[in-house]
Symmetry: C2
Subunit: 393 residues, 2 copies
């Protein structure tokens, strides 16, 4: 195990009707003027936005609103949010939505007290100050409700980049599994795929002697393997949604990823797809991961064999561990297909002829130096081959 | 899953030489006059106490000291610590040691700003205010470094009772596995047993549909099953100690125990043993758990069968699941024996003739009403039978 520090000071309120206490938590964590930040019409139609507002009004907390966050959230709305917060003297950002809304809220929170361009933080500058953020989560996916991370797409160039800081970890997150019951099956499955990607990216490590975090990651993968088909078969299954919701938080707050190197190449390779085609991040990951895993498998066959045996129930082939490793990747791919995820470029809406452009932005865009580091360092040629593998899946 | 709230705002610094930053963390979390609280001579002899003091001096933080914490920490020293802190205007308690030292520190932290007797908090009164606590951990066992809990023994009557509050969760905890390498094998094994007890007590639930936390608990049990024998065989195995140390924290900060009812009857039954015989808490648990588990097994055979299959590698007996359940309990008992733990009263230093006294204090002492609630509600007769089962093990 490597040395590390870990700090996850988010307060979680989990369960039915938990959002009724939103105002109470805003007050507890120091908010006195709130920006409610959200996406589209679903939280308006469902009445969630009204319930959240009522909860703030009950505590006498004034608020202003900014809707319109899109999946793969854009820099334009972040700039707008920063201006609005300054104008209205907002001191607390309340995200009501999924990962995109939360990430956009984190960007606004870091941008308000900063003199320069908030995009600096997405190009490597450390965040030094941020407004507090709270969340009411509506989809189990990104894990942003308990993580220090935020990913934003800059409209000029369509660069999709991330930042991270304990300063933008939410002060509180409200997790009510009921709020996810109205999600369409495709979005539910894409969210589940994102959660599993967060686990695989941590699993693909070059650190050794990491049994405790290996086992914890496997525990969460096993949970997703069991619960996801249950919720696809029955969207109203509160219990399955509850298990997935906690797994999604645990998958990404990093308590299961400490003390080990991590990957994140699948995420980077996918980010260019969702930036260009505006596909669901989880759907893009479903096409990306099996290709990446097959491409890098020989770097450490035993790692892939271990997850194949412990999570996917494969028999260990002691003569040919690479067969077991491959079987585990196939099992994962079949699982993703079974929950309705795309498995190739066509199903995702991506085009083979765009590969040179994808590779160029991936390897050189926004200050990158031609390679991706992670479990295996990938150059342009590697990335081209990986995208090519994804064409037919 | 049941509704819950979860809040674990402790900052963890993990790894080699992490204690060198103690002063920095005290400052970060608002300490300006420190009480260093510790146990016996080992941290003096090893030079750890001097290193911690040097780190405080480097930051210009004045401190006073109170040593002498014993295993199963006593109320007498807590009263002394409270007086000392008031006299010296201490505003931060730094525990250097194991669970006993940390628990004693938490009691002092709650007692200083309270007008009444600190013991009130161990009799059900809620803590409303406490000084901040930081820890430098020297044994992986109690999980007190990341938990809201504290257990103290009141000398009048030798009652051993616990309290819990987010206000006494440590602000920071320094976890350096090297500091545990000098521990004798018996203490190492007793610590490991305590960690496994924290997992089993959470596993024995009456809640249903708790796959995510079941899997996480099993992950940590599997880690302990793998790593503990490695560290008993080779006390200098840093990596095994590191895995155990993080597992010990995760076992008890409750991220793996949320949303489900828990047991804690084994802990209560054991507490009377360590209070009366001053044995190691973990050693007492090694004798207690197999007896309790066999006694309550029929309440939910499938729960015990599940842990037998998933953790202990037993074959599921589909005709007679109770055989699998029992096999899992025996496997756990044999495991405890293999790491050098006692398995009966004699090996623990307990006496059969004391059983009536043990049961009386357990069921009626310090305001108890005659029964223990948990996975199964136990009355005096049940507790007598369980202690009797422990005589021969």
């Amino acid at each position: 195990m490597e040395n590390f520090t870990f700090y996850s000071p988010t307060f979680f309120a989990f369960g039915k009707n938990a959002e009724a206490d939103t105002g109470k938590y805003v007050k507890r964590f120091g908010g006195s003027r709130v920006l409610i930040h959200y996406g589209g019409g679903s939280i308006v139609r469902s009445g969630l936005l009204d319930r959240v507002k009522a909860s703030l009004e009950k505590e006498g907390i004034p608020f202003t609103e900014l809707g319109g966050v899109k999946p793969n959230p854009r820099s334009g709305l972040v700039y707008e949010g920063i201006e609005l917060c300054r104008k209205e003297n907002v001191d607390f950002i309340l995200a009501v939505g999924g990962g995109s809304t939360i990430d956009s809220s984190k960007a606004i929170a870091a941008g308000v007290p900063y003199d320069g361009d908030f995009w600096d933080f997405y190009q490597g500058k450390a965040i030094e100050k941020a407004l507090p953020v709270g969340t009411v989560l509506t989809i189990a996916a990104a894990g942003s409700e308990g993580s220090p991370d935020s990913v934003i797409t800059k409209e000029e160039g369509m660069f999709k980049r991330g930042t991270g800081s304990d300063l933008i970890r939410p002060k509180f997150s409200i997790l009510n599994p009921e709020l996810t019951q109205t999600l369409p099956a495709y979005q539910t499955a894409a969210g589940a795929t994102d959660i599993m990607a967060h686990l695989y990216e941590r699993y693909l490590t070059n650190s050794t002697e990491v049994e405790v975090t290996d086992r914890l990651i496997e525990a969460l993968l096993l949970t997703m393997k069991y619960e996801t088909p249950r919720v696809i078969a029955n969207p109203d299954n509160y219990e399955a949604r509850a298990n997935i919701m906690w797994a999604g938080m645990m998958a990404h707050n990093n308590s299961c990823g400490v003390g080990r190197s991590q990957d994140w190449n699948s995420h980077d390779i996918e980010h260019e797809l969702s930036a260009l085609y505006d596909c669901a991040h989880g759907a893009g990951l479903a096409v990306t991961m099996p290709a990446v895993f097959k491409y890098v498998m020989n770097h450490n066959v035993m790692r892939f064999a271990q997850v194949a045996v412990r999570v996917w129930g494969c028999e260990m082939n002691f003569d040919h561990p690479e067969m077991t490793a491959l079987e585990g990747i196939e099992a994962f791919k079949n699982f993703l297909k079974s929950i309705g995820m795309p498995v190739n470029f066509e199903e995702l809406g991506a085009r083979e002829e765009d590969i040179p452009k994808l590779v160029d932005v991936l390897c050189h865009g926004n200050g990158r130096n031609g390679t991706l580091s992670g479990f295996v360092t990938l150059n342009e040629e590697d990335c081209t081959k990986i995208y090519q593998m994804m064409v037919r899946g």
